[in-house]
């Protein structure tokens, strides 16, 4: 009989006023007892609605059943059979709109804490066991993956299991993509990302860092090097700016720059060489997860006031509820329904304030969200010394502009079919390079789909070779 308690087992967390001064992980993870208790809330539904909500098809009731029995290793094995990055997904997936959003327990009360359980299984395994390497018979075909982010790593992980020789070309000095440069340590410890990547390397995935494809090698040159297929998972790295007066002032950053300095370059630690400003009053413009990450990071660097400036209301914010909740607990100050008009500077060109105008919501726009309209004469100035623009990102044109036959849409996103095949023979793509900025798990899902398509394409070619 399932435990019919309507609420999830609470997640132990660092106290808000403690954690907003350190970069340690906010959520501390379930104990085995908590995990077994939560697992017993699962009804084990036959039709498995939760699985239909998972982009990488984790067999959720099976792994939860194992946790309920205390077989944590078995639970991990169920997850890792379809998910290349379990410890990552358990932390950063928007479960509320995926697996947990479909959970029957969520109809009356809270859904089963699937994400928390996934995280528990992954962490328990990492702490207590060594991953066993399955015997893989190489099939002699080579696949190149461009970008070692969630899409590329998932695609690589699946293909290496199928016997392909997989090389990942990464532009930065460290593999992981947005998991390393974008998502902060306090939500996703970098040691966890690196241990997931090490597992892939042990399984045979070769990673070449410092390789900016489109510059050092073109996609065509990669194919000439003997790769039978190429997967492009180069992400959406280009930051957007508002184009308002004063945006060129000293002290205005893209969220990408601010977060990269902190996360990838570890500028907040004195033993690392990359510099960072410790601003006192920071405005973060935007309402997504990246805005929350930037605001919470600015607070941890010691800012007294950190504002989120967003032109719509809280309901319309694209950030996860959990992130908004955590940000508020950490004393981030929300200035909703207002939009920046210009950034004010002092005589040295440094940011001295941000002028905003109040907005009201009118009819829904193309995105389905209510459109903000400025209220005339409602301008006001927030006194700040740094402004971080977290307005979204778009795909880097480097690869599409150097590859003939690779088509993109007006927003610069690569065009693919349902199986992630691009307009160029032998070339596949997924993740943010295709969708524009989206989530880690959607990127992973597309990497998985692409791996299956590549396998189908290459096994047909293999078959043809054997026949001829």
């Amino acid at each position: 009989m399932a435990d019919m308690s309507p609420n999830k087992t609470p997640m132990p967390e660092q106290e808000p006023t403690v954690r907003n001064k350190n970069f340690g992980e906010v959520s501390l993870g379930y104990t085995p007892e908590m995990a077994m208790g939560e697992a017993k809330r699962c009804l084990g539904c036959k039709n498995r609605p939760c699985v239909s909500g998972c982009p990488v098809n984790v067999q959720i009731p099976d792994f939860i059943g194992k946790i309920a029995e205390g077989d944590f290793k078995g639970a991990y094995e169920v997850i890792s059979a379809t998910n290349a990055l379990p410890a990552v997904c358990g932390r950063v997936c928007p479960q509320e709109s995926q697996c947990e959003g479909k959970c029957v327990r969520g109809i009356k009360g809270e859904s089963v804490g699937i994400g928390r359980l996934e995280r528990f299984a992954a962490d328990y395994f990492a702490k207590n066991y060594e991953a066993e390497l399955p015997e893989i018979r190489k099939n002699g075909q080579k696949v190149a993956i461009i970008g070692a982010g969630p899409a590329g790593l998932t695609c690589a992980g699946d293909l290496v299991k199928l016997g392909y020789e997989v090389t990942v070309f990464e532009a930065m000095h460290t593999a992981g993509g947005v998991l390393m440069y974008g998502i902060p340590e306090f939500r996703l410890p970098k040691a966890i990302v690196q241990s997931e990547i090490e597992k892939l390397e042990k399984a045979g995935v070769k990673i070449m860092t410092d390789m900016v494809i489109g510059k050092v090698l073109s996609v065509d040159e990669i194919m000439e090097m003997g790769f039978d297929a190429v997967f492009i998972g180069s992400g959406a790295g280009l930051p957007m700016f508002m184009g308002i007066e004063g945006e060129d002032a000293v002290g205005v950053y893209s969220a990408n720059e601010f977060l990269t300095r902190i996360n990838l370059m570890k500028a907040y630690l004195p033993e690392y060489d990359t510099p960072i400003k410790h601003s006192n009053k920071v405005a973060v413009v935007g309402g997504g997860n990246v805005a929350m990450d930037a605001a919470r990071s600015a607070k941890r660097l010691g800012a007294e006031h950190v504002y989120i400036i967003y032109r719509r209301g809280e309901e319309e914010m694209p950030a996860r509820g959990e992130e908004i909740h955590h940000a508020k607990e950490e004393e981030i100050e929300f200035r909703l329904l207002c939009n920046p008009k210009r950034i004010l500077t002092d005589e040295k060109g440094l940011v001295s304030g941000i002028e905003c105008i109040r907005t009201q919501l009118s009819e829904p726009d193309a995105s389905g969200r209510r459109r903000p309209v400025e209220v005339e004469g409602s301008e006001f100035v927030l006194d700040v010394d740094a402004v971080i623009m977290a307005l979204g990102t778009s795909p880097n044109p480097l690869i599409r502009s150097t590859t003939t036959g690779l088509e993109a849409n007006k927003r610069g996103c690569l065009i693919v079919d349902d199986c992630m095949k691009t307009t160029k023979e032998g070339v596949y793509a997924g993740g943010d390079a295709v969708t524009g900025a989206a989530t880690v798990i959607l990127a992973m899902g597309s990497g998985k789909t692409a791996a299956a398509t590549i396998d189908k394409y290459l096994s047909e070619r293999r078959g043809n070779h054997e026949k001829s």
């Binding site: 900016v212 510059k215 280009l238 930051p239 950053y253 060489d273 990359t274 400003k277």
Partner: protein, 275 residues
């Protein structure tokens, strides 16, 4: 890892390093840069490639020890290796088809002006080099420049070598006497600003190479944004070369000074470690 295979001290502050970097050496063209990171805890800094040897698989960087990383690099020797060299980044210089060109290097800017002069000479362009330094002790690459250029002028601020004065003095004199159709200026921001001002009055196409603050060098951070002709450009992907008549040099100077306090702090720390 990218090992140093040659190191040559050019003056008290400027050192030439040749690195084994076969992938970059195969592709790099004049005007392009690399990102360098010394070790796991290092910062990423952009450095324009001064020379390359495709067959040997090596690239040459000429670096002035001014900041934390460049000072740390100066302590490294042949056989030591840096953790990362990423490139070639940015767009190659678009020379067009000039007949008579002037290449101006200010101080360590000569290191980047050199491949430009070499490339122009190889294209058969009548190439004049004007090299400016503070004083005699820091003159670099004179022999190399003379070997590729048709004419070579050197100026020093204090007159201890070559002509006393600024590169713009020579530039103005040459342009009054003769017709040039391209000027490339690489050096301190204020030098580039005044070169561009001078050539504007003569109506000569002018390319400047910018070196603003960058983290990734691939268009991701936007730290290197610079205003050119009223539009925001990213120096790492749209540049580093730009039309000298359109660059907002004053904004560039302001943005470049942003981390000076933190950097000075880091440099003091380093002196502590080494002193």
């Amino acid at each position: 890892m990218f090992p140093i295979i040659e190191k040559k001290v050019l003056n008290s502050q400027v050192t030439l390093y040749r690195f084994a970097a076969p992938f970059i050496a195969k592709k790099v063209q004049p005007g392009q840069f690399v990102m360098l990171r010394i070790d796991e805890k290092g910062e990423r800094i952009p450095l324009t490639v001064a020379d390359f040897d495709r067959e040997a698989g090596s690239i040459t960087l000429i670096v002035q020890a001014v900041g934390f990383t460049t000072k740390k690099l100066a302590t490294m020797e042949v056989g030591d290796a840096v953790a990362d060299l990423v490139g070639p980044l940015g767009c190659p210089t678009e020379f067009g088809t000039p007949k008579k060109a002037i290449v101006i290097g200010g101080g360590v800017g000569c290191a980047i002006a050199y491949p430009q002069a070499k490339a122009l000479a190889a294209m058969g362009v009548d190439t004049t080099v004007i090299a400016g330094f503070r004083n005699r002790d820091i003159v670099i690459l004179e022999e190399e420049m003379r070997a590729v250029a048709n004419h070579y002028y050197v100026t020093t601020d204090d007159g201890s070598y070559g002509e006393k004065g600024l590169v713009t003095d020579v530039l103005n004199r040459l342009c009054e006497k003769d017709t040039y159709d391209l000027v490339i200026a690489i050096g301190p921001i204020m030098m580039m600003k005044f070169v561009a001002k001078a050539t504007e009055s003569f109506g000569i196409r002018t390319i400047v190479s910018l070196n603003p603050i960058m983290i990734d060098g691939t268009g991701m951070c936007g730290g290197c944004r610079v205003k050119v002709g009223g539009e925001v450009k990213f120096a790492c992907v749209d540049g580093p070369d730009f039309d000298g008549h359109a660059v907002d040099f004053d904004e560039l100077a302001r943005r470049g000074a942003f981390y000076r306090v933190e950097e000075a702090h880091a440099c003091r720390l380093e002196e502590k470690q080494h002193g």
